[in-house]
């Protein structure tokens, strides 16, 4: 019994961490229409920044400053914000799909850095013995997990509440206005590029926060925690939950992660170990098909957008006025 509860707490914690990433993506995609194809890169920046700042000093490594947890979290968010700003500043003024390509590129590059810059990242070994907040206060790992789950609930709730507030504040309304009619928003003196960049950086910062929370939950970090498939899983969460809806993003995180975990278990049970790779491939194919079907058949997702956006807003009419 305690085994099941223990697993459920662990599962729910991962869902919340992924849910924070999904909220970040939802701000970028659902509310601003920005295509981030390198989610895993920003998540990794946050995770590594936190690990480097908080892990106990080791002579062979550059980082490992042994700083307090909260400093690690703040530093992780700052580092991710900086990375997002650098990519966004160059590409947000360009075609929408160029941002997709650039973010994809930064994810690839960050993965290479995590693998190759051994003095900073520990290379393929990763970094271990990352302090978990208040771990010493608990007798059992389960006790810690329960406390950390509570912490995650509080942080996720704060993020959700904060997002809902700013999206209803003038800032969020400008964002919506830009998405519906860029020209009109511009005429009102709002720079679409600046607002988009802010939304992009803020969304990525949340991904960095999730990275920091992940390492301080697990206690170590390695490049293999940041496979490109994660980007796709987060996308699945936002699309399935309905983009432009924060509750949908959280629900999507739960649904997609449950399907992913369950199919993983089923495949391990059904497929002989010699064909584990094929089993994994089936898992990915299933989620890919789920997404394509969602896109083709239910473009508004499970919950759907909160309010309808005028559909002709991005109907270009290059042959002159209508």
């Amino acid at each position: 019994m305690i085994g099941i509860v223990s697993y459920l707490v662990f599962f729910a914690s991962i869902v919340l961490i992924l849910g924070i990433i999904a909220l970040g993506l939802n701000l970028q995609w659902g509310y601003t229409g920005l295509f981030n194809a390198g989610i895993v890169g920003f998540y990794a920046v946050g995770a590594y920044a936190h690990a480097i700042l908080t892990a106990a000093p080791r002579p062979e490594l550059i980082g490992n400053f042994g700083l307090p947890w909260i400093v690690g979290v703040a530093g992780a968010m700052a580092a991710t914000a900086l990375a997002a700003w650098a990519v966004g500043w160059a590409t947000i003024r360009l075609r929408g799909d160029y941002l997709a390509i650039s973010t994809f590129g930064i994810a690839v590059s960050i993965q290479l850095v995590t693998l190759n810059w051994e003095a900073l990242t520990g290379g393929s070994q990763g970094l271990s013995a990352i302090p978990r907040p208040l771990f010493g206060w608990f007798q059992t790992p389960f006790g810690f997990n329960l406390w950390f789950f509570g912490l995650l609930v509080a942080i996720t709730a704060t993020v959700y509440w904060g997002l809902e507030r700013i999206l209803r504040a003038p800032w969020g309304r400008v964002l919506k206005a830009i998405r519906e009619d860029e020209t009109a928003a511009e005429a009102l003196g709002k720079s679409p590029r600046a607002f988009r960049l802010q939304a992009f950086v803020l969304g990525s910062t949340l991904m960095g926060l999730a990275g920091a929370l992940y390492v301080s939950f697990i206690g170590f970090v390695s490049p293999f925690d940041f496979m490109p498939i994660l980007t796709f899983q987060i996308w699945a969460m936002v699309i399935v939950g309905g983009s432009g809806n924060n509750r949908g993003a959280l629900l999507g995180a739960l649904v997609v992660w449950a399907i992913w975990s369950a199919s993983g278990v089923a495949i391990t049970k059904l497929v002989p170990p010699a064909h584990a790779a094929q089993g994994g491939a089936v898992q990915v194919i299933l989620i890919g098909l789920l997404l394509l079907l969602a896109l083709l058949l239910r473009p508004r997702g499970l919950i759907g957008e909160e309010s309808v956006v005028s559909r002709h807003a991005n109907d270009p009419d290059p042959l002159g006025k209508s």
Partner: protein
């Protein structure tokens, strides 16, 4: 300074390697460039067409055998035939992809980013179907050993590599003539500039789009076979090249054939020259750095038209 002279001595070989990588990247990037300009979205599934082309040729080779090597090459005419057949099949696959996914989104007047997203999903499915069918391991087209020949002082190349360069050059010249002088080629360029005006001119835009998909797929398959020749096939072979393809297409200027070729060569050089001084582990990040540089300085690319 002995170290510097040692370094300089390696430059010609690195340039040759860069040109070879560049030729393969260029062949793949042409399709990406068409995609960006004629189909109007960044197709993340394009790299999977390279992989599929390579594996489809592998199937043909498995039936026909690689054949008796032609001269110093590692393969016989069977592989060339297999490549052409794979080009047709992969063109058909690209066409089918359009039919099943992208045409439906176009008909719904979907946001171009939905197309990007669909490509993203299609890529994942296609890549993993390769794992499912052929397993995660590697394959070779032939087991023939080859000896590198010295083509210039200090520059050695495998005969297969020289073949790849020559074949790519021929394909690019033919394609250039096609785009320049054929009526469909002109319609493709017209579409690249303004789909709306092409439509108003009575051009059957959907046919041009389908033909563009087919051509992109066929070119990707050739790039994939060449990638498989140098030296092996594996499920992520195309995916690992995706960033290079995008970088080359954007660097050259979306929609420009010459641009894609020059872009491909620059990407190839950017991957091969810096690793003389920095860790080869970062090779794959070079296209990204080059891409960011272009997007900062000249986002329409070297040969692109500012819109």
């Amino acid at each position: 300074m002995p170290e510097l002279s040692f370094l300089l001595a390696q430059v010609p070989q690195a340039v040759a390697d860069g040109v070879l990588t560049g030729a393969i990247v260029a062949l793949g990037a042409i399709g990406v460039s068409f995609g960006l300009q004629i189909l109007r979205f960044a197709n993340f599934a394009h790299s999977e067409l390279l992989t599929w082309g390579a594996y489809l040729a592998l199937v043909v080779v498995a039936f026909a055998g690689p054949g008796t090597p032609i001269g110093p090459l590692s393969f016989g005419w069977q592989l060339i035939a297999a490549m052409l057949l794979a080009a047709l099949l992969t063109g058909g696959l690209a066409f089918a992809m359009d039919l099943v996914i992208f045409r439906r989104l176009r008909a719904k007047n979907a946001n171009p980013l939905s197309m990007v997203f669909a490509g993203f999903g299609a890529a994942l499915v296609m890549r993993n179907v390769v794992v499912l069918l052929w397993g995660p391991g590697t394959y070779f087209y032939t087991n023939e050993l080859q000896i590198a020949v010295e083509v210039l002082p200090g520059v050695r190349m495998l005969p297969d590599q020289i073949f790849i360069l020559g074949f790519t050059f021929a394909v690019v010249v033919l394609l250039h003539l096609y785009l320049r002088y054929s009526r469909t080629g002109m319609a493709m360029r017209a579409m690249a500039e303004s789909p709306a005006l092409a439509l108003a001119c009575g051009v059957k835009v959907e046919n041009v789009v389908r033909w563009t998909w087919f051509l992109s797929g066929a070119l990707a398959a050739m790039a994939g076979v060449f990638l498989g020749l140098s030296p092996q096939l594996h499920p992520e072979m195309g995916f690992n090249l995706l960033l290079s393809l995008f970088a080359a297409a954007i660097l050259g200027g979306a929609g420009s054939l010459v641009g894609a070729v020059v872009g491909g060569l620059l990407v190839g050089l950017a991957e091969n020259l810096p690793i003389l001084v920095i860790s080869p582990g970062y090779k794959a990040a070079m296209p990204f750095l080059l891409l960011m540089l272009v997007l900062f300085v000249r986002p329409q690319g070297l040969f692109g038209e500012r819109s």
